[in-house]
């Protein structure tokens, strides 16, 4: 038994494997002890730097980084097995934590997975040598500033590292020993590899960046295998070491967070399992340890995604199901087959395809080689506003469904084209005039160290230094688009109850005076998400039309615009500009997130929802399409519950799904958490592709989570 209980949606609670000291450390970290401490020290003042105005941006960056690593607070926690901490609070707010005149001046980088393997394998010194020896004869002045900045950044890391060596000398001999070797030199053992990885990660976060870690089992697995074989470590010891890293990863959780769209994660994704270029499954001891740690501690700050394929070991799938059952949506899954098809179609070389990770949520990218961002687009609004003109009242009378679809598809095309052209002409004018550098926003040398191509080309992460530059247009509201099209077809063409303009007039009046018809549209018409082939056909059409609209720019250069589907939480902010919809919902009602069905319309259960979601060719959604599935703990009891989760995942893969997030929510728990937030500090829920602590969500978000859980607030019941 343990004094520290980590919340679970499953009645039998979580297993206890880690030692009591580690569990205590985890509880403190999750309850915000370190995050609160970090927030109190937001940045380092760099007013001392002389002739500031004479410096170029990269010199400003590295000069302030030098001050920062010398002056930032150090943190060494009792019981930690790996050392280093991102102790500057501005990082939590996505800023470079250096200030002049009391103000920070640069943002930082997120939505990427970098390659920490370089540091683990080569050490700081190895990396330095490699960069110092790069051929720079062809570099111009601009490229040379990047080159020097990289070397200065490595020096800064070494200074920071030196301070930890010094600080551990007296009281922490084990950590001290470890730090004397890594990350200065290549890691030689599992513990060294974890320390090295963690140090690189913490260093980037010290500079305010939010990197993902990616395929951690591929990186650390071989070290652990060797140590185990040589009897240097046991699985229990390895678990403690790795747990330390997971717990330290929660050091940005604050006790009292401002409520908003959820704080709990900083895109520090981890990807597990999957096959390598020989088609062999790579699941190893580290994959199991990662899942065991989150199974025990319920840590959600490292969102984990598992790459499923036909070879995924049965025991691993079972462990995955066990973790899922505890709720919190901590672990999600990719169907590797679909991801591979999507990446192949995009033209990535085979070697890169097998390395895929994500940007921190679930948008797939090639780690350490990709600049990534995405453009959220409300396609429901596009339909209501630009095709049906609901708000303006200048309605178009479509003669049949094909005419309406054609107009909508054309509008999609124009929208994508307009947006991509705007990005290209706004961002890359220099490139168009023959320069390699196409975007100068702010320096990123910390990131550039871990992104392939940057050092070699003398270009930064935001300047086209990476081999791939991806800005993904993301279709939002697809579930509602499907339901809206289906409702229009039924009301106006199949049942011939009214013309399209007449329906638009009703929508303009927000269904007032037509309540009965609204109920009919909401409850009796077929809806996407119930495994109903006729309704799902509208969804499949919308996905295809969107993919077609993106085709022209999907592989363009220097920026590619491959499509994906998401809303994340934007269905909340989009509420404000959306009108009433043809499927019976009024203005201001919460509609569908990601690729999920409209809340309240999916009544046929999880398997039907998965079938519907898989009814389109998801491999056309290059960067991904997320499905959120919500289950109740009561349906997942015992052995059968685990079989059910496994069956759900296997079916999801067999039908060609892309990314699925299974959350196990208990309405009662959520209601209680609403009443007593202080008792549910660590209760995490995944909302639309990322997870958050429930108590940090504001009212509209909590309402959405509750509605997804099947709870109808009084005013609607």
């Amino acid at each position: 038994m343990s004094e520290y209980i980590f919340p679970s949606a499953y009645k039998e609670g979580r297993p206890v494997r880690l030692c009591e000291a580690t569990r205590k450390f985890a509880m403190e970290s999750l309850q915000g002890k370190y995050g609160t401490e970090t927030a109190l020290y937001p940045f380092v003042h760099v007013d001392c730097i002389e002739s500031w105005d004479d410096l170029n941006d990269h010199q400003k960056y590295t000069a302030s980084l030098d001050v920062l690593v010398r002056e930032c607070p150090l943190r060494i926690c009792e019981g930690e097995r790996v050392c280093g901490a991102a102790t500057l609070g501005a990082g939590i707010r996505h800023q470079y934590p250096a200030a002049r005149g009391g103000r920070v001046f640069w943002p930082s980088v997120s939505h990427l997975t970098v390659d920490f393997g370089v540091l683990v394998r080569e050490g700081i010194l190895g990396m330095r040598e490699c960069i110092a020896n790069l051929p720079t004869e062809s570099f111009d002045e601009v490229a040379m500033t990047r080159h020097h900045a990289l070397l200065a950044t490595l020096d800064a890391m070494q200074v920071w590292h030196g301070r930890y060596i010094e600080a551990t000398k007296e009281r922490y001999p084990q950590l001290h020993e470890l730090l004397l070797r890594v990350p200065l030199y290549p890691a030689k053992s599992f513990t060294e590899a974890v320390q090295s990885l963690w140090f690189g990660f913490a260093f980037l976060r010290l500079g305010g960046n939010w990197p993902g870690i990616g395929c951690i089992d591929r990186l650390l697995g071989p070290y652990l295998k060797r140590d185990l074989a040589e009897g240097k470590i046991t699985m229990d010891e390895a678990r403690e070491v790795l747990a330390s890293m997971f717990i330290k990863g929660c050091e940005w959780i604050e006790t009292d967070t401002a409520r908003g769209s959820g704080d709990a994660q900083h895109y520090q994704n981890i990807v597990l399992g999957g096959t390598d270029e020989n088609g062999c499954d790579v699941t190893n001891e580290v994959s199991y340890l990662c899942l065991e740690i989150v199974e025990e501690l319920g840590i959600s700050d490292f969102p984990i995604s598992v790459r499923l394929n036909k070879q995924t070991p049965k025991e691993f799938l079972r462990l995955l199901a066990r973790v899922m059952r505890h709720g919190g949506g901590v672990v999600a899954v990719y169907n590797e087959d679909t991801v591979y098809s999507a990446l192949r179609a995009q033209g990535y070389p085979e070697a890169d395809i097998h390395d895929f990770a994500n940007d921190g949520c679930w948008e797939v990218q090639i780690p350490g080689k990709t600049y990534f961002s995405y453009m959220p687009m409300d396609f429901l609004h596009l339909l209501l506003q630009d095709v049906l003109h609901v708000a303006e009242g200048e309605f178009v009378d479509f003669s049949d469904m094909d005419a309406l679809k054609a107009a909508y598809a054309e509008r999609m095309k124009q929208h994508i084209e307009g947006t991509c052209e705007a990005v290209l002409s706004g961002t890359v004018p220099a490139w168009r005039e023959g320069s390699d550098v196409f975007r100068l926003a702010f320096p990123t040398p910390m990131i550039d160290l871990f992104e392939h191509g940057c050092a070699e080309s003398g270009r930064g992460y935001l300047e086209g230094g990476t081999p791939y530059v991806v800005i993904s247009p993301h279709m939002g509201g697809v579930g509602d688009v499907a339901n809206a099209l289906c409702a229009i077809d039924h009301l106006c063409f199949i049942e011939k109850r009214m013309s399209v303009p007449a329906l638009c007039e009703i929508l303009r009046n927000d269904w007032n005076g037509q309540e009965q018809l609204a109920l009919y549209a909401k409850h009796k018409l077929p809806h996407y998400g119930n495994g109903d082939a006729a309704a799902d056909a509208y969804y499949a059409w919308a996905v295809d039309a969107f993919a077609d609209a993106c085709a022209k720019y999907a592989k363009s250069y220097p920026i590619a615009f491959p499509p994906g589907i998401s809303t994340f939480g934007r269905q909340i902010e989009w509420m404000a500009h959306r009108t009433a919809v043809p499927h019976g919902y009024r203005r201001g009602e919460i509609l569908a997130g990601n690729t999920s069905p409209t809340p309240g319309t999916d009544t046929a259960g999880a398997t039907a929802t998965v079938r519907s979601y898989c009814a389109s060719d998801l491999s056309r959604m290059t960067t991904g399409a997320a499905l959120d599935i919500k289950l109740y703990p009561g349906t997942l009891e015992g052995e059968n519950g685990l079989c059910a989760l496994e069956g759900l995942m296997q079916g999801f893969c067999a039908l060609g799904g892309y990314f699925m997030q299974v959350d196990v929510l208990d309405v009662q728990t959520l209601l209680d958490a609403r009443e007593h937030p202080e008792q549910y500090k660590t209760l995490s829920v995944r909302v639309s592709g990322w997870n958050a602590r429930f108590v940090t969500l504001d009212d509209a978000w909590q309402r959405m989570v509750l509605e997804r859980a099947g709870y109808l607030p009084e005013e609607q019941a």
Partner: protein, 294 residues
């Protein structure tokens, strides 16, 4: 075949992930019935007042004046209702709903197979009710499901024709067989029928080599006596192919459905068994070397 409901993602009706088909109609009338909407063989109307939006469409369309909707009242006069189903068609919210859909065995099998990709190795289909073995067409359906490679489980109270049972048995992977009560008189009081034919069917199934799990519903004060479980143990030992006994707990949720049918709410909180009663029942069975499932 008249189907009351097809439920997917079921994890309480047999191994793995399953689809459960509830058939309409049962010859027994257990006082504690959990699914009163499956007792009658005919289609019935249900009214879920919680879903009613008060639009009045059902009142307007009802030819019998059976739908009552006033400021304070919302109910259906069961004695007036002629079961025409017009209200269900008109109702925009599914508050008025007909339970009992005519389907062919092929249609049922197709509906079940829609989820086949999720069943993995353990899961499959569960036929329940009502009494599935009293449904016409069951002899066609069961071999059809088997032919499609599904694990088929039948939940039965054994109150059916023996010949039909014998024809179906070879295609069923497992039977969950309800033992309502082991005292013949009590059996009659509680279910409306004597158990003789049922016990005969149980023995028949066993002689055919069917895999059987017995199930006992614990209803506080009605089926919780010590002697009952001793006789259940004896029954278990009389069978060759029985894997054990499952203890189920009564819950009063059936009452809400009775209310929706326009019947008196039959749910009784005092019937919920105590933990002690469950523990004792399990203990008696264990003492008699009966494997139990909880």
């Amino acid at each position: 075949m008249r189907v009351a409901d097809i439920q997917r993602f079921c994890t309480h009706d047999g191994p793995g992930l399953r689809t459960t088909v509830f058939f309409k109609g049962c010859p027994l009338r257990c006082v504690w019935c959990h699914n009163p909407e499956t007792q009658k063989f005919e289609s019935e109307m249900m009214l879920h007042t919680a879903l009613c939006a008060g639009c009045g469409a059902c009142v307007e369309i009802c030819p019998a004046g059976a739908q009552i909707l006033t400021q304070t009242d919302r109910y259906r006069k069961v004695e007036l209702c002629v079961g025409c189903g017009a209200c269900a068609g008109a109702c925009p919210t599914e508050a008025c709903r007909a339970v009992g859909r005519e389907m062919t065995p092929e249609q049922v099998a197709d509906a079940v197979c829609e989820d086949a990709v999720f069943y993995a190795t353990e899961g499959g289909v569960t036929l329940s009710g009502g009494e599935p073995l009293c449904t016409d067409g069951i002899e066609q359906l069961v071999p059809l499901l088997k032919k499609r490679g599904l694990h088929v489980l039948v939940e039965t109270a054994g109150a059916c024709e023996s010949a039909r049972l014998a024809r179906v048995a070879p295609y069923v992977d497992e039977f969950y067989f309800d033992i309502k009560h082991t005292d013949p008189q009590k059996h009659r009081e509680l279910t409306g029928a004597l158990p003789d034919a049922i016990l005969h069917n149980l023995a028949l199934l066993d002689s055919l080599g069917a895999r059987i799990r017995l199930r006992c519903l614990l209803v506080n004060g009605l089926t919780t006596e010590k002697e009952h479980f001793e006789r259940v143990a004896a029954l278990y030992h009389s069978l060759v192919h029985c894997t054990g006994v499952q203890l189920l707990r009564y819950h009063p949720m059936g009452g809400s459905k009775a209310a929706a049918l326009g019947l008196a709410d039959s749910g009784r909180r005092e019937w919920i068994p105590t933990e002690e009663q469950i523990r004792r029942a399990a203990q008696i069975l264990t003492e008699h070397k009966v494997p139990i499932f909880l």
